[in-house]
Symmetry: C2
Subunit: 434 residues, 2 copies
């Protein structure tokens, strides 16, 4: 390290939990990063909303500025790291930075899932890099393997747990018997859920990640609005008991499928067998299966969030972008050449678990089975349990079009013999397989 | 695809199970690969020992040649893929190819673990790429995440199952109660073990992979000879029973540790708790944990071998190398700047499980405990079971220097009260953690 080496200047936009860790690591790991890159990374400015607010001592206060746009486009800056989140001002800042020739590293899933095409277009147009490993599954190297390691393979399916907050809540509901509201409150008091938990519990966060994963996996454009999204606010203790009785747990899954006609991308709670590898993924961890034609089934597991793990992913991208810049090149683009249609949820093949409160009298099962048959839905298993004058009927279907299953449930609700459809949930994953 | 695009010519050295699949996929995926790369990959020649031998119909016989060196250095070739394996002639072929300006993709773990420094040096000198994702853990993207995604982090430990053959054998011994010889025979008849199983069962294969992993993870040079290596031929049914009694299974582990003073790299059978995520890794699957300072604990899981999965990794590298070539650049080098010493096994901290046949009389436990104490080894758990006149004494130690543990076992063997040391095995992994 005695010879003079080049310096690349980094601007940091945002200094919350991730930004603070990025700032700390850039300083602490400076010497190692310099040797790995062949150039020194210098943190040259940090844009924050309130420069006067208290900060972690790892943050050099002399670098703080309230003028993010000035920093993002400052002539001496080489690379811009954005960890503000949300659509604006992040979008304008990144577009301006790229226009000004800066390469960009971002952790912003919402922005990428909404405006990915425009951002990628800007990166190409201005000959800069756009890297975002930290946007999906925190520290887990997932986008780089999809974009690069599997670049010679054909991905068929990506399925996983990509939101730690909902995973924690469902875990608590399963183990403590708590209802959704109670488990959410507990998650909030533990710092696992935000005061406004909408983005997590309604599945918006997972849907943005699913859109990014599907786009990379299938080489096609997918935006958040393409993703069928159901959150976990409707998951009841009855659903949890039904799952338990079936040897299953309930998880919020992100599922991206390459079908014969296009792609199907969805986020919804589903029952999976307790023996399934994803069933054991607890708390704030994430795990994602990738199924490719040649590689077979791969699993990636690790911390899905948190300042330090997410900062690790940001730094990995920073190193890559810096190396590219030194070599005068760009990393591989996310290709969207396949141009595949996104199938509506109704066309997606799923399986349903339906728990029905029925009158305990002859002919009820026949009536119920007939409703399934009329919609061309084949029954995989049926079990009836007497409960005084009533009975509970549990039906698990074979795979069928989601629209046919939904129509079947509607019809069940209208049947005389049916008192109530107590719980409806999709079922994913055979024993031990995603 | 109507406009004219560039063609990059690929030479394939070796056409066994991996090579055949590489040839097939290059043809079948040709159009997709062309769009992803921005250039067409043309398979321009295949070197084999016996061009007249029967081949899979996916292999274009007109491309076959027996002159590997001529093909590897042919002026029109851009990229050389080596799937011959072993040290020579692979080594000379790759060095000559790089000298002739070809970028290289190889699956050759033995060669990389022996001559990695020379190969990397040649790649740097001649300005070409040397990629080898397929050399470790088959289809699992592991080297690229280590080399790139975690480039901004500090890896502390890599621990995993990287040899499918031994994993299958140990699995069979555990589930069927078979001895090593019987389980090996079964593995051979199933095609999971070679006629000469030495490389697998003696741990040479795993040791080569451990050397490659440690080098990349810790940015230092590690060769196969640096790796402490114990195979599974000495694992007995008594060991398996001891493991079972302790709630453990026996796995052949590759363990790379960054210690205060250097690195420690070892391959040996070890007991791990049945609740440990690696305990569930069955058959020919591989799984590797990576523990990094910021990212925390990551796990990678997938098919560790097999023609098609390994070919997927080769193709991922081919795409990357081709993109680099088009951009007139090279991928990141494996840096060895850290120059860390490799610690001798005796200095490594491990835990032992020792099962001892002793005379069932007063004072025996005291004598045994004293032997441990004299070597500064602290006992974590001791259990004695009467067996007629004799007793079996099970001791699990706390972490201690391996040399101290080995010396303790030697001393135990010399004690009057000890009839025999029935089983000695290292123990890894707390409950649920690597």
């Amino acid at each position: 390290m005695t010879e003079e080496i080049k310096t690349l200047k980094v601007a940091l936009l945002g200094c919350g939990s991730v930004g603070t860790q990025v700032a700390r690591l850039l300083t602490e790991q400076g010497d190692d990063l310099a040797v790995r890159i062949g150039a020194r990374l210098e943190l040259a400015g940090i844009a924050v909303r309130r420069p006067q607010a208290p900060r972690d001592p790892a943050v050099d206060r002399s670098l703080l500025t309230a003028d993010a746009m000035e920093l993002a486009t400052r002539p001496d800056i080489d690379i811009v790291v954005e960890v503000i989140g949300g659509i604006e001002p992040a979008r304008s800042l990144l577009l301006s930075a790229m226009k000004a020739g800066k390469s960009v590293v971002t952790a912003n899933k919402a922005l990428l899932a909404e405006d990915g095409a425009e951002l990628h277009g800007a990166a190409r147009e201005h000959g800069v890099d756009l890297y975002y490993e930290a946007a999906v599954a925190g520290a887990i190297p997932l986008l780089r393997p999809l974009r690069e390691s599997l670049a010679g393979d054909t991905v068929r399916r990506v399925l996983g747990i990509v939101n730690g907050t909902t995973n924690y809540i469902l875990d608590r509901m399963d183990t403590s018997g708590a209802g959704f509201a109670e488990a959410l409150e507990e998650a909030q008091s533990m710092g696992y859920a935000e005061a406004d938990p909408t983005a997590d519990v309604e599945g918006f966060d997972a849907a943005a990640k699913a859109a990014i994963l599907a786009g990379l996996a299938f080489h096609t454009a997918v935006v958040a609005a393409d993703v069928h999204r159901e959150g976990i606010t409707g998951v009841t203790t009855a659903d949890m008991s039904s799952a338990r009785a079936l040897g299953c747990v309930v998880k919020l899954l992100a599922i991206c499928d390459r079908t014969a006609d296009g792609v199907s991308v969805r986020v919804h709670p589903a029952m999976i067998p307790r023996s399934h590898p994803l069933a054991a993924v607890g708390g704030a961890y994430n795990a994602v299966f990738v199924e490719a034609e040649s590689a077979g089934r791969l699993m990636f597991y690790g911390a899905g969030a948190g300042g330090t793990p997410t900062a690790s992913a940001v730094l990995g991208d920073l190193v890559a972008v810096a190396r590219n810049r030194l070599a005068g090149t760009r990393g591989p683009d996310a290709t969207t050449y396949a141009g595949l249609p996104v199938m509506p949820m109704g066309e997606t093949l799923t399986r349903y678990h339906v728990s029905i409160d029925v009158a305990d009298r002859p002919g009820v099962l026949a009536r119920v089975a007939d409703a399934f048959a009329r919609h061309d839905v084949s029954i995989r298993a049926a079990r009836q349990e007497a409960r005084g004058d009533d009975a509970q009927l549990i039906i698990v279907s074979h795979q069928a079009r989601d629209a046919a299953l939904a129509a079947t449930v509607s019809e069940l609700e209208s049947l005389d013999a049916v008192r109530a459809v107590a719980s409806v949930m999709r079922v994913e994953g055979e024993e031990g397989s995603p």
